[in-house]
């Protein structure tokens, strides 16, 4: 094929296939409509997706950070529900006729944070958490209880301190009657000697008449009396508990009284 003929073919092709044959306006309309739609879709996705992603990230960060838990502890402490935690009190053995041992949160009334010596954290085990009826206490009781504690460095700003400070405060949030209560608790559930346990409960109640664990001590004392066969005394202790509208061991006290009759 000659060069001239090839050039003519190229020219003919160029003329027969002009770009102007396409409907440029229609294409423009379609392109812009689709582009606008995509942009709106992307913006909508951003409006929804960003808050969701941000919420998720913040949640994960808070959950992962120690600070988040510290803050939670502070709030709980302020609410008076502190120290229901993780100490290793042995699980009480169940026995027919004897109530399941339980150790309640020690302080339902918000108690001010108290500075404590480091190292006490591991020495004083905390009772396992169990719901407990709040014990109505008079203002005098509270005052007496507060006076019985050594409370150096008590101030309102202390709970807002860092986590390390909050951990140091933990043992001091436990009332001092805890050690006495634990001794009685051990004798009651693990000692196998009701008389010794009864003595320990009596000692606790005598030492801390407005103590944190008075309701539990009273109920357990009644159980010890029952074990020792002193039914009348046990009944005298159990009846007020069973008749109370909201007291620790009320249902079990009623059950025991029912069984006694």
């Amino acid at each position: 094929m000659s060069h001239d003929l090839f050039e003519r073919a190229v020219n003919a092709y160029r003329n027969e296939y002009p770009g102007s044959a396409l409907d440029a306006r229609a294409i423009r309309r379609r392109v812009l409509a689709r582009a606008g739609m995509r942009r709106r879709r992307r913006l909508a996705l951003l409006r929804v997706g960003l808050p969701v992603a941000a919420t998720f990230s913040v949640s994960v960060a808070l959950a992962a950070s120690e600070v988040g838990f510290r803050g939670f502890d502070d709030v709980r402490r302020w609410l008076g529900e502190a120290l229901e935690a993780n100490t290793a009190t042995p699980a009480p053995a169940r026995s027919p006729g004897s109530p399941r041992a339980s150790l309640a949160a020690p302080a339902l009334v918000p108690s001010p944070p108290v500075a404590a010596a480091p190292g006490e954290v591991n020495q004083v085990p905390l009772p396992p958490p169990e719901p407990r009826a709040p014990k109505p206490r008079s203002g005098d009781d509270r005052r007496r209880e507060r006076d019985s504690r050594s409370t150096p460095g008590r101030d309102a700003a202390a709970p807002l301190e860092a986590k390390g400070g909050a951990r140091d405060l933990r043992p001091n949030l436990l009332s001092e009657d805890l050690a006495s209560y634990q001794r009685a608790h051990r004798l009651h559930f693990h000692g196998g000697e009701p008389a010794a346990a009864l003595g320990a409960w009596d000692a606790y109640l005598a030492a801390y008449p407005a103590g944190t664990f008075v309701p539990e001590a009273r109920f357990n004392r009644a159980v010890c009396l029952l074990r020792l066969g002193r039914r009348a005394e046990a009944k005298a202790v159990l009846e007020p508990i069973a008749e109370s509208s909201f007291a620790y061991g009320r249902e079990r006290a009623r059950a025991l009284l029912g069984a006694m009759e």
Partner: protein, 190 residues
């Protein structure tokens, strides 16, 4: 022959490019108004079929925002668009079959009454023969030939569009011409 004029390669403002990347319809419209003729012409001459060519042009401008991150400020936007079109035209091979039918129909159509019937007939026959020949050569040769010889872009711009060396452009054009001449020589185009 506006298509033979060397196209101007304008530098893009980064801000404008950012708007294109974000899919701003106004920015896309600006790009379309500036470059749609080049794209329409190339698409039509590469594919032959009007519908396929329109789809290709539309496709190019729709994917532009998502591909614009590859475009540097100061680069040729037209070359970039032509490169997108050349790549995406591979997906429009099916339309070439329609194009063959179109070419055959074109050959049967009578020339406009104001034109010399003989010349018009000869032109149509030549165009049809070249279209068939273009269908017979490899796609890369075909794209390079259409851009360089039919659209009239420089070897440099074709190289920029297809992201190949200029020497490769020249080699492809040379081989395309050889094959097309051989194919056209075997046809009775007159």
């Amino acid at each position: 022959l506006h298509s033979l004029a060397l196209p101007k390669i304008g530098a893009l403002e980064e801000e404008f490019l950012e708007r294109v990347r974000s899919g701003d319809p106004e920015a896309v419209a600006t790009v379309y108004d500036r470059h749609h003729q080049a794209l329409c012409s190339f698409a039509k001459r590469l594919l032959g079929d009007d519908h396929a060519a329109e789809d290709l042009v539309q496709d190019v401008f729709l994917v532009l925002p998502s591909l614009a991150h590859r475009l540097d400020p100061g680069a040729s936007l037209r070359s970039f668009l032509l490169g997108i079109a050349a790549n995406r035209a591979r997906h429009y091979r099916r339309s070439w079959r329609r194009r063959l039918k179109f070419v055959e129909r074109l050959g049967r159509e009578s020339a406009p009454p104001c034109e010399n019937p003989e010349r018009a007939s000869e032109r149509k026959a030549l165009a049809s023969a070249l279209a068939r020949a273009l269908d017979a050569i490899p796609f890369d040769h075909r794209v390079t030939f259409v851009l360089r010889e039919i659209e009239g872009y420089s070897s440099r711009e074709v190289a920029l569009s297809l992201k190949i060396p200029e020497a490769t452009v020249r080699t492809r054009v040379f081989h395309a011409k050889e094959k097309l001449r051989a194919l056209l020589g075997g046809e009775d185009v007159r």
